[in-house]
Symmetry: C2
Subunit: 364 residues, 2 copies
DNA sequence: GATTTCCTTTGGATCGATTCAAAATAGGAC
DNA sequence: GTCCTATTTTGAATCGATCCAAAGGAAATC
């Protein structure tokens, strides 16, 4: 594998033969002094400093090569952001973009760089994680998250997993209070008088989709999904409604399975008056589908999302949703990496309900 | 089991004194052999390979440190993307995002990583450029572009400027044919029968804004702006219209100066029936402003943009514009860096006209 | 038993810098 | 001119790997 990569790398590039040692020799000083001229100029005598600088200029020396410096210093001054998705995920996905904006802000402030690490296939991903020149990783755990975390852990650098359902207490993670967020969403709807609910869920376990029976909710492999279901059903039960009456459909957070879910829900004898979507993406897809099927939101059906992506503010109608502090998550993740002290901590951030126009009392 | 993982974790993450040499010693082989186990396992005898791997496992060695490998290999396998804007520019700006998607695609394909390099202030930027661990740079030249290019050039690595107006033939650049694009835009409007034009221009020179007289167009410092003006006026002249009749207002590609420009244009005795905006951003701002002032597009005034950002497809009305092949630019830039052979080449890509709903024949 | 071959392993050199204890030099005081 | 203290400069050691010429060893051939 290494050989393959290596071959691919052997692109013809003009190398820069001028090293610090060359400059030192040309200026007639030791390399130690030459180094000082660039890294601690104040301790070098003026005359010598000028001589070295002149020599550097003449040889076309562009300053100390960061590779050497970095090897010595041990620090790279860059944070790796990893995901198992293709790289364009960082620029396309609304959730990722807002988190990245938060990461950017923190990196700007601290002067750290950002390295994007990802890959289509597993082998490539492993290689990229192992060879990324970074001081730590922020890991976007989506599908295949456990594999990604495993690879990152092997690397032995500080890292923090962004959310999403890991029970493993030995890894640092940063997430939101999914139970509380889901409660908030469901309580908002019960408060409006809804009694007939459906959940468009994310995956319970890798790749699963289709109708789900409530008892499975308790055994879901993905903790995030499990917690959100628990929150939804908890608030619904508190309103005196039988949680067993709630229809649950597991989607893959994409259009196809969400459409299938909606068809399933509205083919039911008792179609829901309120839809709890476990992501804004699903909620927005639902909004479009409902509009296309002559079902008016929020008059006929209320829809509530989860995430708080910007798109939700400009949808028709604007989406009521549970807002995660995405930018804050990004900022905080950077802080955790940069101040890593060996302690593994798991942090939970609070969510807020953004009440917009996609929820209303049920039709009578 | 959990305890084992836990122990390994703390060993790995706290400090990592485990070097390849340690593994070699523990396994009773030379460091050369140990290195081969990881980089060229096939040339090591099975028994020895297993012994070394076992030793590595026992010591909690996470594989060869990329810093060492990289220093030796000279290659980092990452491309730096630089701009003088804050880092979040890459995730917020529509133009940047589409270009980044193209860069991502090419990097995914070739297995290269992406390093984002930027900084608020000049000193920070200089340091970041000088110390970025990359094999080459793609430079987003916006404001302050010349300084950025200067810094990048000093670094002595292959780089390509994503054009926006540099005359300097000694730097590799990748841009679009601004003259042709502008011609396309203006010709579309003259073809619809317009005879009364205004241009909402980008900067002619650093920081300039306000009304502009055509002769200044020829002396503009920013070649991109100059070329677009030349294209606009060229096509207008070919339609038998006096270019001197075209109102030109220089904006900073922001809301404030664009609004000022629009006020200026519509305070004129002969307000334009067609607005040539030099960026989609300006065009979209204009669309909003016009709607807010009771001017209907395209009935009263036609607006045409330049860039082809996704937002233009969903605006009201959808924006007719000159589409730059943004993703293609990103892809091509990566290819240029990875296949850099010392030759400085300047490439020009072709633009296309996307006719949507913001242009129509002028009111009679 | 000596020679040749083939396959493994070895260990020194190298990549390009920084660091630091020790040596050299400068400057000042007597 | 000598001695002493600051200030500069030196050069070996280090960071963590890879590369490669040469050495070692086992099997095959003469």
């Amino acid at each position: 594998m290494g050989a393959v990569i290596h071959e691919r790398l052997s692109v013809e590039t003009k190398i820069r033969p001028v090293r610090l040692a060359d400059v030192a020799k040309a200026a007639g000083v030791s390399h130690g002094t030459a180094s000082n001229v660039f890294s601690r100029p104040e301790i070098v005598r003026d005359e010598v400093r000028e001589r070295v600088k002149a020599a550097a200029e003449k040889l076309g020396y562009g300053g100390p090569d960061p590779r050497g410096r970095m090897l010595r210093a041990g620090k790279v001054n860059a944070i790796g952001v990893a995901t198992a998705e293709p790289l364009c995920y960082f620029f396309d996905d609304p959730f990722a973009r807002v988190v990245m904006a938060g990461i950017s802000e923190a990196c700007d402030r601290t002067g750290a760089g950002i390295s994007l690490v990802s890959a289509a296939n597993d082998e490539q991903l492993a290689w990229n994680i192992r060879s990324a020149l970074v001081d730590g990783f922020i890991v976007f755990c989506l599908e295949g998250g456990s594999r990604l975390v495993e690879l990152t852990r092997e690397r032995g650098l500080p890292f923090v997993a962004l959310d999403f359902g890991f029970d493993d207490e030995t890894i640092a993670a940063l997430g939101v209070d999914d139970v509380a967020g889901a409660r908030l969403a469901a309580a908002h709807l019960t408060g409006l008088g809804h009694r007939c609910f459906a959940v468009l869920s994310l995956e319970f376990d890798e790749g699963g989709h289709g109708p789900v029976f409530p008892d499975r909710a308790r055994t879901a492999g993905y903790a995030g999904t499990r917690d959100r279901i628990a929150g939804y059903l908890g608030a619904i039960a508190e309103a005196g409604i039988d949680p067993a009456s709630v229809l649950i459909y597991e989607t893959l957070n994409d259009e196809a399975t969400t459409h299938a879910g909606l068809e399933f829900l509205f083919a039911s004898e008792t179609p829901p008056t309120a839809i709890l979507a476990m992501s804004d993406k699903v909620a927005l897809i639902a909004l479009k589908w409902l509009a296309g099927h002559g079902i008016t939101v929020p008059r006929d059906v209320s829809v509530i999302g989860f995430d708080g992506v910007p798109e939700g503010e400009i949808s028709m109608p604007p989406l009521t949703t549970v807002v995660q502090p995405m930018a804050e998550m990004g900022r905080r993740a950077v802080e955790i990496i940069l101040s890593f002290d060996g302690a593994v901590r798991r942090e939970t951030l609070q969510v807020e309900l953004a009440i917009r126009k996609s929820t209303a009392p049920p039709p009578r």
